[in-house]
Amino acid sequence: MLRFVLYRLGVVIPTFLGVTILAFSLIRLIPGDPIEIMVGERGIEASRHAELRARYGFDKPLVQQYGIYLGGVLRGDLGRSIVTRQPVLDEFLTVFPATIELSLTAILFALLLGLPAGVLAAAKRGTPADHAVMGVAITGYSMPVFWWGLLMILLFSVTLDWTPVSGRIAVQHFIEPVTGFMLIDTLIAGDRAAFVSALRHLILPAIVLGTIPLAVIARMTRSSMLEVLGEDYIRTAKAKGLTPLRVVWVHALRNALIPVVTVVGLQVGLLLSGTILTETIFSWPGLGKWLVESINRRDYPVLQGGVLLVACLIIFVNLTVDLLYGLINPRIRHAR
């Protein structure tokens, strides 16, 4: 197991270096100079333009700029935003918990509904229940996030007035950030009304963000379950006279979960990018909005730092998933 872990960690280093190079070069390949964008149609004198480029270090050769950047990264310094002048890591730490809170709730929502729905569809294969689950899943999967989000807002917030339209918490609640997770912070503050408000604000974005993963999980669980249900040992279990419920949930599901775990791991990565649209619709102050803004403003340090941190996170999630396989299925562990 230790060798397996070390091997996985060894693969991380070149991936990490690749990501720094990509993050650094991609933003510079986009045409448009951050200073020109900052001044817009007002224009800027050539001398002042040169002065500002020098101040931000853009006048140095690219290789040197990359060296300075990598040196900073290795020291844990991701630089400062050229717009807000705040350290990139500080900004990341303020927006990141919002995204994690939303993503985890979304994936939880997807798992809680997707797994049983998939199992149900597989167990009742070919019945109207199966067709209904798969129909809903394919519809959910093909729903454009932007449209789906606005539809939910119009129905639940504007027409029915059940949930707030957007934001993380109602404006009258004033919660000091401790962890950055609004649900936890409101609990720490001991403010029940604020907690409820935070929860209510979380419902719609989590549903919208969780819809696609839900569909994927339901479909994946169904097909994986169908495969397992056809295995000999399931027939044996049935022949032993076990209840269908026990056969499905205890014997079949555990084995069917392996591909599902893979998919959930991949979905977490996708969720982090999927949040961009959801965060925009629900004015959720998270990572996606922060990164998109930095692209528009050509805020090189923020984009480089942000992409790097997200990539590290995805690498970490994948590593965890690989290790989880080992736990669920010892055969994988021994095969390496």
Partner: protein, 538 residues
């Protein structure tokens, strides 16, 4: 349907534990929520140039020596109770208001009233490269530089604690209007000294201390900014007690929040939503002409645009009424002058070029282009207040020109690249761009966009038009403090402009501002800002 019922079940469960309250529930005092369109870059308006930042800093937290009267471009006293200008137009002496208090906040308690030291600090920081604060927070004083202040200022002196004297290098009538712009906001020198002593100089720029009607309480990045009314405001406490900016980037969501009562005022509605806003029983849709102009400039350094007849012909070939309908969806007005009608000296007598393809063809033939020619139309890739859809506009112009035999190719680059290739390198032939006024002075349009100073590479006179009779008029007006004389000169200049046709003036936009009906006396700011002092809730 299954999805809906599931979602409804989850929602009902949550609601069962929730007291029936919606976001705007009662809070101590009156709270006005503004669904702002974006996050501020910081809280020091001298460092930035976006309207979003100005709303959050300059307009709420700070004052200037002089101010624009709310909802107009008129200059009124601010932190200066009065001022005088010397005969030669070179010396401006400001008498400062007495007894003005800086905000007392959780991070700073002032020990003295506002005085001349604060004025000196605020300007010298931007102007003097050796000022200890000059390089703090990036030190990019864009507006101070782009308004030409470094070259215009000769000296700023403290005459006594309540008198400040600005001496200029040349007479510049628009100077007083510049003093009302966000970059001329007055920051606290005492606070700056304290932060310098604590070695936390950059705090001055994100934990603001001003003299304005609202004081900063808290900012949650990309989410919420909170202010409370300054109880000691020199012009009287604001009518609302708490001001909240709920940052909401998407226009459809802003509209949903306004409808749901989660905010009181929203900027930048989608044109498609205007009809619904007009009809909504709880919403007032305010509107006003914007302080802007959208235009198509002909680069006269390139043939055949050096030929007056060609420019006139192309201008006459454009059906601008159709553009207003299709591109602005009615939220615009055909422009005939290079300045908007809300600016003083707007010349009503100017005759617009008619839409006349037959005459256009004739003029082209006279210019030796009976068979037409090939050219480009540069179209911006971004939405701007003066042009909501440049690409669409370019397509319409392309079709209009094709009808008179001119084949145009539409060219577009990414925004930064577009600006670089046009402003810096003058690569464009005909180009769509526009301008939003900074200080409400005609000079800010006529000199900046059409004067000889801006006609070289790097300048923003994109017609690259340097016409002596026009330039003489505007330079003379710049040096004349008398508004009547200036008005006459600018009116004349607009006629010269029209006759020479360096641009086809396209449109001035109309600004719409939906507000809830319980909002009292909100006025549209001609500069596009949002000012909540004087606004009440009923």
């Amino acid at each position: 349907m299954k999805r809906f019922s599931l979602a409804a079940a989850v929602l009902t469960a949550a609601l069962a534990t929730a007291p029936a309250q919606v976001a705007q529930a009662a809070q101590a005092g009156k709270t006005l929520v503004f669904c702002s369109e974006g996050s501020p870059e910081g809280f020091n308006p001298t460092l930035y140039s976006s309207g979003t930042t100005f709303d959050a800093s300059a307009r709420a937290v700070y004052n200037r020596l002089v101010e624009f009267e709310r909802g107009s471009t008129k200059i009124v006293p601010g932190l200066a109770a009065s001022w005088t200008v010397s005969e030669d137009g070179l010396v401006y002496t400001f008498k400062l208001r007495k007894g003005v208090k800086f905000h007392t906040t959780s991070y700073f308690t002032p020990s003295r009233d506002f005085n001349a030291d604060d004025v000196l600090y605020s300007f010298n920081r931007q102007w003097k490269k050796d000022h200890p604060y000059h390089k703090v927070s990036g030190g990019n004083y864009q507006y101070f530089a782009s308004m030409g202040m470094p070259k215009l200022l000769k000296s700023i002196e403290k005459v006594d604690a309540t008198t400040v004297r600005f001496t200029l290098t040349k007479p510049e009538a628009p100077f007083i209007a510049n003093m009302a712009m966000p970059f001329a906001s007055i920051l606290s020198a005492e606070y700056a000294d304290k932060m310098a002593a604590a070695k936390t100089m950059d705090k001055v720029d994100f934990l603001p201390v001003g003299t304005g009607p609202f004081q900063y309480v808290d900012y949650r990045k990309d989410a919420v900014i909170r202010y409370k009314a300054n109880p000691a405001y020199w012009s009287g406490k604001a009518k609302i007690d708490t001001l909240v900016f709920a940052i909401t980037k998407d226009a459809s969501v802003r509209w949903a929040k306004l409808k749901a009562g989660e905010c009181h005022v929203m900027p930048y509605p989608n044109p498609a939503d205007l009809e619904a806003m007009r009809k909504h029983p709880d919403v007032n849709l305010l509107q006003q002409e914007g302080l802007n102009v959208g235009y198509l400039a002909y680069n006269m350094k390139k043939k055949p645009f050096d030929n007056l007849k060609v420019r006139q012909a192309l201008t006459m070939a454009i059906n601008r009424d159709a553009i207003i309908k299709a591109v602005f969806q009615g939220a615009g007005k055909v422009a005939k002058n290079p300045i908007p009608p809300t600016i003083w000296s707007y010349n009503k007598a100017t005759k617009a070029y008619p839409y006349d393809p037959a005459q256009a063809k004739k003029l082209l033939a006279e210019a030796g282009h009976a068979k037409g020619f090939e050219t480009d139309i540069w179209a911006m890739p971004v939405q701007r207040p003066y042009n909501p859809n440049a690409r669409r506009m370019a397509e319409m112009i392309q079709a209009d020109w094709a009808a008179v035999g001119v084949k145009a190719k539409i060219i577009s680059y990414e925004w930064g690249e577009y600006l670089k290739r046009s402003i810096k390198n003058s690569e464009h032939t005909t180009i769509l761009l526009g301008w939003t006024g900074d200080n409400g002075d005609p000079d800010n349009f006529l000199h900046v966009l059409l004067g000889c100073d801006g006609a070289k590479d790097g300048g923003i006179n994109l017609a690259r038009w340097c016409h002596k009779p026009f330039d003489d008029l505007i330079m003379q007006a710049k040096a004349t403090p008398d508004v009547k004389k200036r008005t006459a000169l600018y009116e004349k200049a607009q006629l010269v402009f029209k006759a020479q046709a360096p641009w086809a003036t396209i449109a001035h936009s109309i600004v719409f501002k939906p507000v809830r009906k319980n909002v009292v006396d909100f006025r549209i700011d001609p500069f596009g800002g949002h000012d909540f002092y004087g606004v009440d809730l009923k």
